[in-house]
Symmetry: C2
Subunit: 743 residues, 2 copies
Amino acid sequence: VVDRAVTRVVTPGTVVEDELLAPGNNYVACLARADAADTAGGAHDTTAEPTADEAAATETDGGTSAKASGNGDVEPSGTTHAVAFVDVSTGEFRATSADSQGTIQDELDRLAPAEVVLAPEISDGNFDIDGMVTPHDAAAFEPETARERVTSYAPNPEAVFECDAEIRAAGALLDYAEHTQVAEGELGHVTRLTRYDPRERMGLDATALRSLDVFENHAGGDDHTLVAVLDETTCALGRRELDHWLRRPLLDQAVIEARLDAVEELTHESLVREEARELLREVYDIERLVARVSRGRANARDLRALKTTLDVVPRLREVLSDAESDLLVECREGLDGLDDVRGLIGRAIQAEPPAEITEGGVIAQGFDDDLDDLRSTAREGREWVASLEDRERERTGIDSLSVGHTEVHGYYIEVTNANLDAVPEEYTRRQTLKNSERFYTPELERREDEILGAAERADSREHQLFTDIRDEIAAETDRVQHLADHLATLDVLCTLADIAVENDYARPEFGNDGIAIRDGRHPVVERHAEFVPNDADLCEEPFAIVTGPNMAGKSTYMRQIALIAILAQMGSFVPAQEVRLPIVDRVFTRVGASDDIAGGQSTFMREMSELTDILHGATADSLVLLDEVGRGTSTTDGEAIARAVTEFIHDEIGATTLFATHYHDLTEIAAELDGVQTLQFAADRTDGEVTFLHTVTEGAASASYGVDVARMAGVPDPVVERSRDLVSGTAGRDRPSGDDKRD
Amino acid sequence: VVDRAVTRVVTPGTVVEDELLAPGNNYVACLARADAADTAGGAHDTTAEPTADEAAATETDGGTSAKASGNGDVEPSGTTHAVAFVDVSTGEFRATSADSQGTIQDELDRLAPAEVVLAPEISDGNFDIDGMVTPHDAAAFEPETARERVTSYAPNPEAVFECDAEIRAAGALLDYAEHTQVAEGELGHVTRLTRYDPRERMGLDATALRSLDVFENHAGGDDHTLVAVLDETTCALGRRELDHWLRRPLLDQAVIEARLDAVEELTHESLVREEARELLREVYDIERLVARVSRGRANARDLRALKTTLDVVPRLREVLSDAESDLLVECREGLDGLDDVRGLIGRAIQAEPPAEITEGGVIAQGFDDDLDDLRSTAREGREWVASLEDRERERTGIDSLSVGHTEVHGYYIEVTNANLDAVPEEYTRRQTLKNSERFYTPELERREDEILGAAERADSREHQLFTDIRDEIAAETDRVQHLADHLATLDVLCTLADIAVENDYARPEFGNDGIAIRDGRHPVVERHAEFVPNDADLCEEPFAIVTGPNMAGKSTYMRQIALIAILAQMGSFVPAQEVRLPIVDRVFTRVGASDDIAGGQSTFMREMSELTDILHGATADSLVLLDEVGRGTSTTDGEAIARAVTEFIHDEIGATTLFATHYHDLTEIAAELDGVQTLQFAADRTDGEVTFLHTVTEGAASASYGVDVARMAGVPDPVVERSRDLVSGTAGRDRPSGDDKRD
């Protein structure tokens, strides 16, 4: 009947069932490392024992062995690591490699795979992996085996990938993905293996993504995040594309400007935007849909959904007919409506088919003669049985005679005990009930068998026809994927334009004079509260020490500058009146704090580790946010470290930096160093009530209002009063109530 | 054929598919609030407008309107909230209510439901909900409707629940759960609705669970957590039971001692323990299994798995025959082997049946005559077809004649073109191939229909028999659940005993003299690193100010004391040589820090909010951990708050408290206040290398070693050197290199 062999191994990274998947991407990743013989040239001849040497290099902590290269870039140019990613549900496949393990870690953080497969030479302690770590057959990582596997997807692996480690990661990953899709062998929808260079994208590590609430808020949810603000996409394709753009802000100004041109055109053409968005709402997730088609998992409703989507395409081209910007024109020209596929589905598949192809009623009447014949045979048989009751009543004269059916015994003729005398001779007894007997006749039994046989054969025929049609569409996977790409891009462009208009964003301009923002806002916070816009001028003095009381807005101010840079480089308008900024190579953050007691790191140790990453990784083109660095230790040590870090970034790195601090001492440094400014957030105390003004001005704040915040948080009055007395010095060190209260 | 109507609505909280579920519980919760007319008696007559008054009471922040009741307990005795939980996969159902919204929030935190259903009067902004919030029909919350619904599960709701709000939450939740299981109507396996009182359990809110790494580490994973250390359970039943115990440490010393008695007995009886664990390894998750049976979702393999589990029971009773402690005796006596069910499954179900009941071959031969007859008819038909080839070859003289079958056309006789002359007259052409023709005969067609008919009827008959058997077992759901309870308890007891032996834990003793620990260890950290045990003596001086450098172990020390209290009160031995402690009513923590910028709270505001909860909620029986309270603001304000808080807890609350701080100033207070001690963690600097000794001694530490930690974290040498100079004062404020380097 239906084939029920084991067809898949379900793992978090290779789920393909729509109901189990969020609309976003779901990746499985694979890590591999170049072995000694394979590492980048140059070192081969110089040392006698390259293997031991290479191994040692990967163990050092980076600070001591590498040469001081002037600009903080002291990571060891160690062994090459490679990472490959696949989203089995969409067919997306990418790989890259880098000499720095940190770069690979950043890619893992950026893509957040649900599952990671490790080559045998990789220990999972070397990477910070959030998803499940899955073991896989070491043989799949053998260079020749892996290369072979890749060849089934990309005939010439060397033309796609840059090194053996990439090919090993890619090959083993494909092998693993095939393994999880047991019954299907090759993954027909993984048609485009691509290699990318992470250095072409703005650096955004896990720390920065987390502390800026880009994809997740502090509690791990997705409300109150940047992606939640931006995600007004109308279809799942656009949702994933938006995610791509946001995870990978660009460094190439020409590409950024092309996106901005398209967004700007759409901000002006509100009618085009509205109509396009209206049409895009009818678009199904055809990327995953065609993946199911290709894997032989699509049902009849999927095919109708594909047709509905294809129906939209000509109308979309029409809407875009006057588009002028390069990217919009490219989208319009790329919208292939696949008329052949659309026609086939229209002719072959019922308009509202059942979900299960085994239920029958999937193939439209008139599409196949054999099927139509089998259907009539079954129907005629049923009609014969349906009319049997009347015929037999007339023939036998038994008015209460009835014809019925049970699952176990099949069709029967039922006669009540009172009429048993009138039963004809050819009736054979089948079952005895309390008040009646059930019979069958040879003809009834023959008809029943005939009905069963025809129905069974019709089901089989439908199944065969359906899979043939599906295979025919599967052959067009590539065209559907290209269409999906263009629909996705269009959705994101319309969305960014819509958000820009709705929220009064401005187009950012790029230049090399430093960051200058007029009336900038925090894109997330402004959605949930009254927001006071603030300027930033980091051109002449690119290092800003930010002071002011708790709750006044220091952290929000710093983060909004980083978010504006990210938005600008992904090709979006930004929440401000006017923005000029340089292309930022990387955003670094050292804000907030989290413990890892069981993992053996104290809060302060983590703080210092993150600081270390910044001091080693930042360049003059980076944007650095430091929030209260040094506060995890004693005041003396903390102030010393804060000051030394400020000097080091100023003297040695030259990164654009915002440093929020309560150390008033640190503000003195602004006077001493060129290029360092001090900013303050103001507060106003009237009648004992504190109001935070949320406006930034020049100069250093003098009071911290910590006790006021404690009061606002609900700390009991006696504690607040006593604290206030201690601060003002009116209480001395003796408590007002003494010690007698308790003893 | 197979029935494929929509049978379930899949939601995160009501998943029942095993492959989608972790072994732990998966709850859906439901919240309701008593309306004004329904609130607890007493206030009814005193105010003219109770509704407005009640509403106002729930809005106040607790600090101002409530009377000062002496002991910090100033929560408003506001409107009653109720919460009900169900795990649809196991049938567990509980409900409770409380006058304090915070208590209900704590229960939500404790049980971490995947999904929450809200009554119309509840706004989701009032609770901090991690899972999905699901809307549900307001009508289900109508008091009469809800009561009706509950009655199907518990004939007299008032005997189970304590107020209308509980009944409304319970009834609406059952309605929702039924709604998600569309086809099944009532949930036959939800047989035990229970009401509990959260005040019977140790208080553990989300903050404490998180900062102590009880169930999740800082990154949200479950490695390096307390549950990971304890979870050596051998079956899924035990895994969930362990979770229950750990989420709900007890307050009743008698019940705790009963658990400890059983654990202690098992630590002595290693053979009993090993054998029991060996047998428990063969136990399936019969709680979920019987839930599937009851819902008509169990397949034949499930029934065999139930039998395998039942086979274990008599052997387990045998192993426990000499058990003496009350709880072990209770477990043994509760182990009902359900011999009737075991016998039925043994007779009726094939030993290794297929997973799908529609595949046939599920019911054992000899169990049902009708089925056996139908099977022979089909078999004889197939045998007739199988022998047809030989007979027809002989009859026609065509040696190459063959008999075959296709899905679409059914059976055929194939004759190559060369032999078409010899084809008998009664052969009818069915299909023409390139080199041959396919035929059928009336007899072959009749036989084919007969085979199809008999096979179809046999499948139906098997299906009927199987569902009858399943229904018969479903009627015993209650007994299976009781068996599951006892197996689960036994597994946890054996596991705790095993862990105690393997890790050298000691049995805790309870008394009212305060906490005294000899050679205590952190149960998680000791698994991953060399660990130096430390004493704690909080009897005479229950307030300890803990000082010492970063990384020396302050946080670990404080947390290990809280974890020991939790372990002791769940009935486990504890990681120490000797422990005496009181029954702790609640553990409070204010450690670490996390930002909620987008939510509008600064780090310091969160710190103060958590502090507020502690100062309002703690009693003399609580255990309070404070880590660096006050560090999120300026030094002056921070020190004042820290001192005022210390005085308040000491004078007004009297809770056992550990307060880690870098404020050396605060250590002076120990001299001033009775019952306050100062502890320090030592470090040793030799030749510039710092060693943290991880041992606690009396007295206040004088140095913080913050710069040393910075160096260990890899902060670049120039920054470390400069910091050191600044701390020691040798550098003054002028930098050694001046400003000329960059300009």
